[in-house]
Structures are given as structure tokens and as C-alpha cells.
Assembly symmetry: none
Homo-oligomer: 195 residues x 4
Amino acid sequence: MGKREEKANQTKTKIVEAARTLVREKGLENVSVDDITKLAGVAKGSFYVYYKKKEDIISDIGCLEFRYINEELEKMSNLDIISKLDYYFKRYKEGVFSLGVLITKSWLQNNLNCRCKLEYDYNTISNIINDAIKNNELKKETDVDSLTYRIITILYGLMLIWIMNGGNIDINDKRIDVDVYNLLFPFMEVKDERI
Amino acid sequence: MGKREEKANQTKTKIVEAARTLVREKGLENVSVDDITKLAGVAKGSFYVYYKKKEDIISDIGCLEFRYINEELEKMSNLDIISKLDYYFKRYKEGVFSLGVLITKSWLQNNLNCRCKLEYDYNTISNIINDAIKNNELKKETDVDSLTYRIITILYGLMLIWIMNGGNIDINDKRIDVDVYNLLFPFMEVKDERI
Amino acid sequence: MGKREEKANQTKTKIVEAARTLVREKGLENVSVDDITKLAGVAKGSFYVYYKKKEDIISDIGCLEFRYINEELEKMSNLDIISKLDYYFKRYKEGVFSLGVLITKSWLQNNLNCRCKLEYDYNTISNIINDAIKNNELKKETDVDSLTYRIITILYGLMLIWIMNGGNIDINDKRIDVDVYNLLFPFMEVKDERI
Amino acid sequence: MGKREEKANQTKTKIVEAARTLVREKGLENVSVDDITKLAGVAKGSFYVYYKKKEDIISDIGCLEFRYINEELEKMSNLDIISKLDYYFKRYKEGVFSLGVLITKSWLQNNLNCRCKLEYDYNTISNIINDAIKNNELKKETDVDSLTYRIITILYGLMLIWIMNGGNIDINDKRIDVDVYNLLFPFMEVKDERI
DNA sequence: GATGAATGAGCATTCATTCAT
DNA sequence: AATGAATGAATGCTCATTCAT
């Protein structure tokens, strides 16, 4: 990477980090491009070197956090589905938790119309389920589509509750706990003796 | 009702209906007070006769729809919990459905910071559960708080998925179907022979 | 006075008193006709029964206070000029004092363009001076016009200083004290032995 | 100065000059930002590049004029107090005169609540007086505070009279003339033989 | 690439005034 | 005389975006 390229990268990083800080505090709608570039210590115009529209920066702020989760999941292929989903729920909650209410809210609002996040999450979860079917953890006749949606529903429901609570809910609060075992119970191949 | 009062009512109705139409199409943030009053065929200032701030109209547009549900539930006290919750989920989806994506989105965004809706829904559902415990439908030791949150989680998750799909999901689509029986199974007093 | 007339008078009185209270607190420019009529407990339209324009109420609020002074002065014709002016300055300060900063400010601002107040005060003072000349208290060659202006200058200067201090100056504070004797000294017929 | 900077300066100047013209004609309250920028031939938004609020421009319009006076006074330290005060009154009147009624009125109204101008003028005048005491022009026991206020009272009274006359009073009109000698007479160290 | 002055459409909100009842 | 719903012009201010340097 040449010096020029390096400097450019620095500028972009400064902008993203400033934006992240401000959006976390006040939410995207209450942060102006002016605020961002001022905090970043760069010129207003520089913002538009990297982003066409103000909103375009959101994906750089928020998605990153969630992408980590999926990358980590890929390295856990040898674990059973319950462990994977437990982990997934745990990390998801941590993601929302660490991002803060407002950043999540902004991210939510700016993605509310596009299906991209939904599709992304769908793929992650359906992959986990398909793997489990291949490994005979879940019944062959499991309706992957339905089960995936059932899980996403819970995921998004948790996110919304957390936001509506203003973020004032502990990550381990039992009210937002998910009982993965009971969730999967009807679909499991070899019934466990538990219960 | 005198002539004056009647006319005043008409004016407010015109405004709410115009607002409803526009917000449904474009979302509150993209609708100006000017747009609303122009469509309603009244003066801009008339809007402020009835609402102090632009956002204040949202509750008149949206909340009504959801309140109906709860009123109806009260009339169903003789039914069993599964029927009640089935009905509740069905009506909730219909509510979101008939309101349209954007109106729901607006409503959501303008209520995201206050816990009022969460509390309202919490009360409705925990009442249903408590009734079921009294009627010996659910185990005495059921953790009402947890179960209520589990149901709300699904409710809100569904709402979010539906919105993220841009409203293009059929109300009967099995992906957003809720299996109330399985949901309650671990808490039921007399185990059914099913499964 | 008939019953009708009496009621009408009550309404007007309510309006003036409400306006007075509000203007005293916030200044006319920050008080709307709505505020006034709401506090008065009458309909907005009633305001326009008595006043053509919003500003028209100011004279009813403010001038009254100052008119008293002049009426009182007329009853003091037998006193010497120094007593009269001492009294005049004292009452003027009391007037500004009791009206409050904002009402005075409003009154000032709404009369800044018209000469009426200036003329009114001019007449009052020049009358006092002319009387004094007749009574041989002041020299026959006294330039009435100049002396009147000299006194008004001090009067208005005091008022302005008082306002600029936000009204937080004591009515007896020596900084806004006027030494009438020294002021008149060069114009007095029979030099006093004082000093 | 770079081209950019130079241009920026031009823009600000255009705005101030346009504002000055309009405020002189109609008073700040009757001039909109739109009017100003239209006359200046710049975009409305440009106004807010230089001023946060509309009122903020007043100081740029008005204060300048008065600051000149104080700067000039500093260069006159070798003159006697009567010359200095004569000069001060003369320049003050000229300042108000050249600013126009409405600009002064605006400036007055926007400073009426803050003591800054009063304090500024207080300092200027008390400096002159203290110098005079040091130079044995005035008695050592002179109450500086009182005398300063006495002078300011006249200053502000003159300003108010001038404004109330709609500016239609000649700067040399004897009615707004100040007899500095008589004003200082009681405080002078070595009594002149005049009178 | 970086800058930041300039833009100008856009918008929420206020409020004096009117007039039918 | 009293009402208060309706009016709609007026206005301060924001801010995403452009572009000459």
C-alpha cells in the first residue's frame, strides 16, 4: 500500500470512528455530516469522497460487528447445533449490547426497508440447520425455512425488546433468555432423555 | 352536537385520514405537514389546532388499531389460552398488516424510546397467562414474567420480519406462523397426548 | 351602566389584567393573543372586540401608571419647583419600578417610533418650569426648552439604565439618584446660600 | 490571504452591508434573513455560515461604531477632562446619528437584557474620571461611581430622546446639548472664576 | 485526495386576524 | 357581545450536497 492509499485509509477510518461515536450517543438522525467531519478533524467534503449519501456510512459502522459472529460460527463446524445456536444467540445479544441502543436503532431504521440483513441472517441460520440435518441431529423432514424463521423471529424480537427497554436490560436477564433446547425439541432426531 | 363541533370533528378526521394515507405510502419522516393538510384540503395551521407537534398524529393513526385487539380479548375470557393466544397473534399480524409497513415503521420509530407499548403488551399477555394459571390450564409454578417475555419476543420478532420484508409477506405465510401449542407445551398442567 | 355594558367592561378588564401579568413576565413580543385570552379565560376573538391590533393593548397596560403622576403633580401647584421635580423623579422611578422591566421595555419598544410619550413628558415638565418662572423661582431668561430637555434626558437615561440592569437596582440606589438642586442651580433666581 | 479566504471575507461583508442597509430602514425585527441574503446576492444558508442566529449580526453592525470612540479616547490622554467628555458626548451622538434610528433601536433592544454595554460604557467613563482625579482636575473625594452614572444617565437619555424623535433632531440641536462644565462643576478641584 | 465556502430547497412551527355561529 | 375553529402567510433555521481551489 502506497503512502497516498494509506493516508486515504486513515481519513476513512477517522470518519467511521467519529461517526460511530456520535451515532452511539445521539442516533444517526441527530448527527449531521458536519458533526462527524468536525469530530474526525477532516473537511466536510471528505465525507463525500467515501460515501455518496449520509446514510451509506451506517453499514460501515454497524454491520462489522455482526459479521464477526458469522465468521466465528464457521470455525465451530464440529460442535452440535444446540451449542452453535446458544453461541449465536449469546453473540447476537452481545453485538446489540456493545453497539448501544442508538446505533442499533439507527442501523435498524436504515435497514428497515431493505431485506439485506434479513437475508444475511437467514443464510447464517439455515446453514446451521442444514448442517445439523446432515449430521442427523435434526429430523430429515425438518422444514428448514420455517425453523429458520422461528429462530430469526426470536432474534429480532429480543433486539426490539432490548431497544424498547432503552438498553437497560442485562445481557443475562432471564427475560431475554432463549431456551434453545425446547425450541428445537420437536425437530430433534434422537430424543434426548432430558425433561 | 352543535354545527361548530361537528365541523371541527370533520376537519380532524380529514387530517387523520390524509395523514394515514400519506404515511402508509411514504412513512412519516417523508411526509410534511404541508403534504397532509394539502391532501386534507385544509389550511396548514389547522393541523396545529389539533396536534402540538407533527409526530403527535401518529398515535391517532396507529394505536387505535392495536387497542381494538385488547378490547376484543377481554370479551373472550371464557376461551382456553391456546385459542386466546392464537387469536392474539392472528390479530396482531392483521393489525400490522392493515396498517402497512411504513405506518408501522413510523409508529415503531416514534415509540422506540418509550416503554409504553412494551408495558401495554406485557400487561395484555401476562393477564392471559395468569387467567390460564387460575383455570389450571398452566402449571402453578409457571414463571409468568419469562413466558410473557417469550411471547412478546415472538410478537415483536414477527413485526420486525414483516417490516423488513417490506410488507411483502402473506399474513398466512407459514414462515411467520406461530405454533402456540409447542410454545406452551412445557408449561401446560395436563399434558396432552399429542406428539 | 346596564348589565350588558357592565359585563363587557369585565371582559375588557380581564383581558388587560391578564395581558399585564404576562407582559410583565415575558415582554409583549413573547406573549401571543392566545396566551392573553387563555389566561383571561375568554375567547381569542374577544380580544379583537376591544383592540384592532395586538399592540393596541399596550397603552391600556402601561400609560395608566404614568398618567397618575401628572394628575398628582397638578395638585401640587403650591409647592416649590425643587419639591415638585424631586417628587416627579421619585414617582417616575417608582412607576418604572412597579411596572417591571419587561413591561417597561415593551412599552418603550412600542412607543419608540412615536413621539407621543416624549411630548407628553415634555408638556408636564415644561409646565412645571413655566410655573416656576412665573413664581420667580427661576430666572426669567431661562431657556425652558433646553431645561426641559435636560430633565427629560436624565429621566430617560435613568429608565434605560434601570432596564439595562435588568431591574436589579434599588429605587434608592445613589447611582440613580438625581441632584435636582445642582441641576437647577444655574437657572435659579435667588441663589440659595447652600453649598 | 488566499483566494478562498478573500472570497469568504467578501461574502461576509456583503451580508453585513445588506443587513445594515435594511435594518437602518426597517429595524431588525422587520427584516428577515431572506431579505438580507437576497439583497446581498448570496444564498440564505450563507448567512448561517457566519452567524448562528439572526440576532448575532447586530453586534457586527452596531458595536463597531461605538468601539471606535473608545479607541480614539485612549489617544487623547493628554487632554483635560472637559475636552475629553465634550468629545465623548459629541462622538456618541455622531455614532447614534450615523447608525440611524432603527439600527440603534435594534441594537438597543438586543442588548437591553445584558449589562455588557452598560459595563463597557461604565469603564470608559470611569477611566476618564479617575485620570482626572489623578491629574488634580477633580477633587480627590469625588464619588467616581456616582459621577459615572450621572454621565451615563445623560448619555442614554440623549440616545433615547433622539430615537423617540425618529432621528429627526439635528446633532447640534441645543436641546440635546450637554453642558459638561456645569455637570462637573461641583466636583472640580480648582474652581474656575466663570459662572 | 482534501478542503470548506456556498448553496437553496425544505420544513416545522407560530400567530395575528377573520368570520360564521 | 362572545366564541373558537380556521386560516395561510411568514420565517428562522437545517443540512445534504456541490465544486472551485
